[in-house]
Symmetry: C2
Subunit: 233 residues, 2 copies
């Protein structure tokens, strides 16, 4: 892969690649394999040998774990700039499926290890990313263990609104995932998610202009409903 592709990559500034300066970006380009995953296709399977790491450059993927009887818990959604594979020892601890078309760069494990040895700053960055994901995971545990359905949905919408990748339009939140995905992320059923959104809309806190999009009308009240969101200074 040519260095130019990395230089012009939309994820350049958002991903772990930002730890490597332009001059040496060619080293990464040489080891990365760009791929496109079709909507609905899985590309990481829980329990499989963790041979590859992925850096998402476009689209959105759902990360999840399954129980034997099919119950599913989505542990996160990955989009531009997200690095996949940290939660892996010898085997992946989760599965991943593309929601819409996902573009990403694949690194084999030995190649990534090579890069980490070569670029200490890259490893520093990976540690930062891991720390950030850990705090997000703890916030999610608080949500799953202690928040009501209403609080969960409000928290989810606000968290999405904070992500730059969720659509630049002020207060407009893009939701590429289905109600079932949202439910499995929030530990609810899709019916409860739907009902809760209806309630929030009836209360004029949000609007649902079209499928896959939500507008936040009253962020303040939504925040007070979401309850103790991670304190932002």
């Amino acid at each position: 892969m040519s260095p130019e592709i990395c230089l012009r990559c939309g994820a350049r500034s958002l991903s772990v690649c930002s730890a490597v300066d332009d001059a040496r970006l060619g080293r990464i380009a040489a080891l990365a394999v760009p791929e496109t995953i079709a909507p609905g296709r899985g590309f990481i399977a829980e329990g499989e040998p963790a041979n590859d790491f992925f850096n998402v450059t476009a689209g959105t993927a759902r990360l999840f774990k399954l129980l034997p009887d099919g119950r599913r818990q989505i542990t996160g959604f990955a989009s531009v700039g997200d690095f996949l594979g940290l939660a892996a020892a010898a085997e992946y601890a989760f599965s991943a499926e593309a929601i819409d078309a996902v573009r990403c760069c694949r690194f084999s494990r030995p190649r990534l290890i090579l890069l980490l040895a070569e670029f200490p700053a890259l490893e520093d960055r990976l540690l930062q990313v891991a720390a950030h994901e850990l705090t997000a995971a703890q916030e999610q545990m608080l949500l799953l263990g202690r928040k009501s359905a209403r609080e969960r949905v409000a928290s989810f919408l606000l968290a999405r609104a904070r992500q730059p990748s969720s659509g630049g339009v002020a207060r407009g939140v893009r939701l590429p995932m289905s109600r079932a995905d949202i439910a499995d992320y929030l530990g609810l059923t899709l019916e409860t998610v739907s009902r809760t959104l209806t309630t929030l809309r009836a209360a004029r806190l949000i609007a649902i202009p079209r499928a896959g999009e939500i507008t936040i009308l009253d962020a303040g009240r939504l925040h007070s409903i979401a309850g103790g969101f991670a304190v932002r200074a």
Copy 2:
């Protein structure tokens, strides 16, 4: 602090310190400040500047997040060998309190950064630890989002039984934390935890010889109740 203390430390082989060989252990000893925290005392407060990192050498601490109205989610229990502070950017993302007497080594942030630069293997190890905690966090999300009370309690007991620190006696599980702590860890009420333990005891799956201890009588059935625990090869 003298190097001998580190050499004889009970957490030596369990903690991140194992990434540093005996010969250079003195460097760590020189920067670590040993401390003892009395039962019930807090030593990390969510939202406070994350100036220090901790390495637990004895005892058990609860790590948790609070909602404004007092609801609490325990995100984990830390004991011998656990490193605290990874889930921290500028501020701590969680609080920590000693359950029984906790002994630990405190590292100031600048000192830890110094050590990481000096010992690349230490940073590698920290990344491994972060990855491990991330997989544990995802397993906990599955538990909190999708498992029944019965499944949660069974999962908890089995997870505790797997930890060497929970008491070497086969099938004997030490539980230094209260029912309220267990409940706040599993996203339940203490009454539900108590009832569920009673049910499991009535079914002869466990025994409760004394407070703070549980004996697993039928690990097989407990496993099938716990449902899709992280697959162990």
